[in-house]
């Protein structure tokens, strides 16, 4: 299994390998002793088969959540938007909510 990972790392880093045609890529895969099924998956750009064989399972990619909303923010907004003549009343209502 390590053969295919090392091959992919080399493929990612070497311009000639990255741009190699199918025939040249097949030759490089054979020289690197990459397992036949995995080599076929790479040649066919079949990422699903490769992942299923090398690292099955779900991999989550979401790493950020939106900021938690501050419940006081809306109240502050209401206070700011309130007209001067009834501002005190609205502020009191907001704080008692």
């Amino acid at each position: 299994m390590s053969n295919v990972i090392d091959f992919l790392a080399r493929m990612g880093a070497e311009a000639d390998l990255r741009d190699a045609g199918t025939e040249a890529l097949a030759r490089e895969l054979a020289e690197a002793n990459v397992d036949g099924e995995l080599a076929a998956a790479i040649l066919a750009a079949d990422e699903d088969t490769l992942r299923e064989r090398v690292a099955p399972g779900t991999y989550y990619s979401i790493q950020l959540d939106r900021e938690k909303e501050d419940p006081n923010q809306e109240q502050e907004k209401e206070k700011k938007e309130a007209p001067d003549n009834d501002g005190a009343e609205k502020s009191a209502l907001a704080h008692s909510a």
Partner: protein, 266 residues
């Protein structure tokens, strides 16, 4: 606060494509660490990280369906800091850039520093960087706005339709639970409705996904805005919207700057 113990934390980015984007300093931080934590989006890429260090611990087990993502990120931070507090040299490895759309690395670095440990972040090549290259988009030409998709839906943002608009994490657009890892046509229809305040439904948009494996090609799928609600979107997908209006000249500012230029003429 100055460091008082030997424990350290460095969060590095792997870049997006296996083997292509790892910087020399990121590689060095990985190999020099006592323990490595891996937060990557692709199992094959995680296997590659395991080839770089004998003690790589995946952060993937902290995720679970319906588990609040905030709890997941807290668990990730705690796992890394536990080893830092034990006096170990810790490296957190994250796909792309560890500080772009990534909560745990920022929090881990901030908390480690607050506790007196040396902590730093090394940048990586992000999906945004790949998008510019793959779509042939230069943000310097008309400008480019970036928003997280759900946040964009929840707030009234000022959209400049003469610049590009890029919405990230569109694959979970409209999730208020904080525990979903997908979206569906109802939520996407709301996103399209929000975007339709600014863009015609026929405006062509691009669904983009960077390549994570070196034999892959990036996903670049163009469609009218109105079709986005029926599109198949996954966690790594991004929605990029080209400008739909020309740049609007500011005649008053132009006149003032022209006066400067005239006064400086030989």
């Amino acid at each position: 606060m100055t460091a008082t113990t030997a424990g350290t934390l460095t969060c590095v980015g792997l870049g997006m494509t296996l083997g292509s984007h790892l910087t020399p300093i990121a590689r060095s931080q990985i190999t020099a660490a006592d323990v490595v934590f891996a937060g990557v989006s692709d199992g094959v890429v995680e296997q590659w990280v395991r080839r770089l260090h004998p003690d790589v611990r995946s952060l993937q087990p902290f995720y679970a369906e319906a588990k609040p993502r905030q709890a997941t990120y807290r668990d990730m931070v705690e796992a890394m800091l536990t080893e830092v507090r034990a006096g170990r040299r810790v490296c957190g490895v994250f796909y792309g850039h560890p500080g772009v759309f990534a909560q745990a690395p920022h929090e881990a670095v901030a908390r480690a520093r607050a506790e007196g440990y040396v902590a730093r972040m090394e940048p990586g090549i992000s999906s945004e960087d790949c998008l510019y290259a793959d779509l042939g988009l230069d943000p310097g030409r008309t400008g480019c706005q970036h928003f997280e998709a759900t946040q964009f839906m929840l707030y009234r943002r000022s959209v400049d339709t003469s610049a590009w608009l890029v919405l990230w994490q569109v694959g979970i657009a409209g999730d208020l639970s904080g525990g979903r890892f997908d979206t569906e046509p109802r939520r996407l229809a709301v996103l399209v409705e929000v975007l339709s305040r600014h863009y015609p439904p026929t405006h062509e948009v691009v669904i983009y996904r960077a390549a994570t494996l070196p034999f892959q090609t990036p996903r670049i799928e163009r469609m009218p805005l109105g079709s986005v609600q029926d599109a198949s979107l996954g966690m790594p997908d991004t929605l990029a919207i080209p400008p739909c209006t020309p740049l609007e000249p500011d005649l008053a500012i132009r006149a003032r700057l022209a006066e400067f230029a005239a006064s400086e003429a030989p």
